[in-house]
């Protein structure tokens, strides 16, 4: 335990918009340890998307250092960043981003297609295992259009797990789902977290934060709050408390 997965120090990110320089991140520092479930909160314009892009190795900071799993990300080339994303990070998006007309299994296999170390057989085995972990063992041949929103997000979660990443990076992963389904998904995240998977969850919904072990709040490019959650709610319990829907 306590292995540092993410270590950022004095991270700054500036964008030039015409003559103006926009400071999206104004020098933030924090570390995320293995096994943590961190929510990054903030209203729009707080810099959380920028932070997410940098954490996801999709973008480079203007200054400061960023280490993921002891690898310094700064000054890596586009291709090296792609390899890091492939091997160390599992992405989950708000709109699922599944390939249309492609089976759940093939969608989950996708990240491994870009890893030449994984054979065809192993790829399939790992994808099946990941789908079993998210409770979709019986839906492997379904295409996204044959799945509900919650199921699609489960496929996306399985896809993020398949490459055994050091961290799962979720971007408003429950944003497109109703309360019941989003609690189901949060409960799945909590299950995965209990198995030791590090999760970083970017959201603007305060109730999501109550399910995580730690919350980082951003405002105008600065961290204004970073606290451990002493009273972690169980999403499964909350789910049971929801009124039964009438159909």
């Amino acid at each position: 335990m306590n292995k540092e997965i993410i270590k950022i120090k004095d991270l700054k990110r500036e964008f030039t918009m015409g003559n103006e320089i926009v400071h999206a991140l104004r020098g933030i520092s924090f570390t995320i340890n293995e096994g943590e479930f961190v929510t990054i909160m903030g209203s729009s314009g707080s810099g959380k998307s920028t932070l997410l892009n940098i954490l996801g190795c999709l973008d480079q900071p203007t200054s400061g250092t960023y280490e993921i799993d002891s690898v310094k990300v700064k000054d890596l080339s586009r291709n090296e960043l792609a390899t890091i994303r492939n091997e160390k990070i599992g992405f989950i998006f708000q709109s699922y981003n599944l390939l249309a007309r492609t089976s759940a299994l093939e969608n989950v296999e996708l990240p491994l297609l870009y890893n030449s170390k994984v054979s065809t057989d192993e790829r399939k085995q790992r994808a099946i295992k990941a789908l079993e972990m998210v409770g979709l063992a019986d839906r492997m041949d379904h295409t996204p259009s044959q799945l509900s929103g919650g199921q699609q997000q489960r496929v996306a979660i399985a896809r993020s797990l398949v490459n055994n990443p050091v961290m799962i990076l979720a971007d408003e992963a429950t944003g497109n789902l109703d309360t019941r389904t989003s609690y189901e998904i949060m409960s799945l995240f909590q299950e995965l977290n209990e198995k030791g998977i590090t999760i970083t969850f970017v959201t603007h919904e305060p109730d999501i934060a109550t399910f995580s072990s730690r919350t980082v709040v951003l405002k105008d490019g600065n961290i204004i709050k970073d606290y451990m959650n002493s009273d972690i709610q169980s999403a499964a319990t909350e789910l049971a408390l929801l009124p039964v829907e009438d159909h």
């Binding site: 390939l99 870009y114 490459n163």
Partner: protein
């Protein structure tokens, strides 16, 4: 990333868009099919011309009298009387590159047998004529040199003439017929040759000793032509030069003076006709090539749309670890697969339509292997060339922008 995986991805994208892919391919399919069919037609007609001319005797050399002016009036070549038997004898005796030669006089007239008659052309020649023209006999025999000497009234008939004046299928050998008013004894029937490429019926002929035709029918003392054959096809051009020199000496032409006769070999005729059909082939291929180019532009268009449409997918692929080169290869392979599949279908369609043309339109065709190879190679190159730009565009996308693209 292994190439095989990229192939799988590209193949899947094609299969998922069957109709669109097929429509994209259409340009390439038609282009390739057109190139192959057009070249097949071009090659076919060239070959048929060559074979027709060869069947007329590819070593053959023809000497005709040249144009001349009589008091400022240009005369038709056949009216010229500048070619004589003396010229023929000079050519025959002095040349070293000729294997056979014959004087030739010809005239039209009516062939009559009882109540049947038929308009035809009588050729007055010597026995070597058959060797020069490469014609055999169906029945009977050729007249002899002695019969030429004595200007015997004997003829050989072509099949068309036989069919028309012996409609009941009688054996014409030994029968007496008349050409105009002069009676002849039929001593042979020529082998059937059919029509030549120019549509002439080669069987509509009557052959007799040239002495007989010259004196008894035409009443002339000059020759219409001298026919000869070179020892071999390769010798033909030299033989032409040789015959020209002999005749110039014979006609006492000074150095600067133009020939008053024409010497032609079949080779020249072949190349004249070949160059015409070659022009045509080039034109046809150019048209076909343009349709191939348009097909290529079609691929580029669809690939461009495909990249635009799949921006989000590209973003996702990059996010989960796809490198720029992976994305580039994916789209490039897709373009190449489309163009090569299109090329393959085009080859099949091209061969099919060639067979159709041969079978139902009865045009001579000949499929050249090189046309298949070239059009196929052009297809692959088209795929790379026109797939490159959209693929590079896809590879250069910024993953963040691509992921957020709606």
């Amino acid at each position: 990333m292994r190439l095989l995986n990229l192939f799988k991805i590209a193949f899947k994208a094609i299969v998922l868009n069957k109709v669109r892919t097929l429509l994209t391919m259409l340009g390439i399919i038609i282009g390739v099919a057109a190139v192959i069919a057009m070249l097949a037609i071009g090659e076919g007609s060239k070959e048929s011309i060559r074979s027709t001319i060869s069947s007329m005797g590819s070593n053959m050399i023809t000497v005709r009298p040249g144009e001349d002016t009589h008091g400022g009036v240009r005369q038709e070549a056949s009216a010229m009387q500048s070619l004589t038997l003396k010229d023929y004898n000079a050519v025959k005796n002095k040349s070293t590159l000729l294997s056979y030669s014959t004087p030739l006089v010809n005239g039209g007239g009516q062939v009559i047998n009882g109540s049947n008659n038929w308009p035809s052309t009588i050729f007055g020649v010597n026995p070597e004529y058959l060797n020069i023209k490469v014609v055999g006999l169906q029945s009977g025999s050729m007249f002899t040199d002695a019969e030429v000497q004595s200007a015997s009234k004997v003829v050989l008939l072509g099949q068309t003439v036989v069919d028309n004046i012996f409609p009941d299928g009688e054996d014409p050998i030994g029968k007496l017929i008349r050409f105009n008013s002069i009676p002849f004894k039929v001593i042979g029937v020529l082998e059937e040759k059919g029509e030549n490429t120019f549509g002439q019926d080669q069987d509509d002929v009557v052959i007799a000793p040239f002495t007989t035709v010259q004196k008894r029918i035409l009443a002339i003392d000059y020759l219409n032509q001298i026919l000869a054959s070179a020892i071999s096809e390769e010798d033909a051009p030299d033989a032409v030069t040789e015959v020209t020199e002999i005749l110039r000496a014979q006609h006492k032409l000074a150095d600067g003076e133009d020939d008053d006769f024409h010497v032609r070999s079949m080779e020249e005729l072949i190349s004249t006709f070949s160059s015409t059909s070659e022009m045509l082939t080039i034109l046809l291929v150019a048209v076909a090539g343009i349709s191939l180019l348009i097909g290529g532009i079609g691929i580029m268009n669809i690939m461009y749309v495909s990249v635009k449409e799949r921006t989000k997918e590209i973003g996702l692929r990059m996010a989960v670890g796809g490198k720029g080169s992976d994305i580039l290869m994916q789209f490039l392979i897709e373009a190449i697969l489309i163009s090569i599949t299109g090329g393959l279908l085009g080859v099949i369609l091209g061969l099919g339509s060639t067979i159709f043309i041969e079978k139902f339109l009865h045009w001579p065709t000949s499929v050249a292997l090189y046309s298949i190879i070239i059009s196929f190679a052009v297809c692959a190159i088209t795929g790379i060339f026109f797939g490159w730009y959209p693929a590079r565009k896809a590879a250069a996308l910024d993953p963040i922008t691509a992921l957020r693209y709606e």
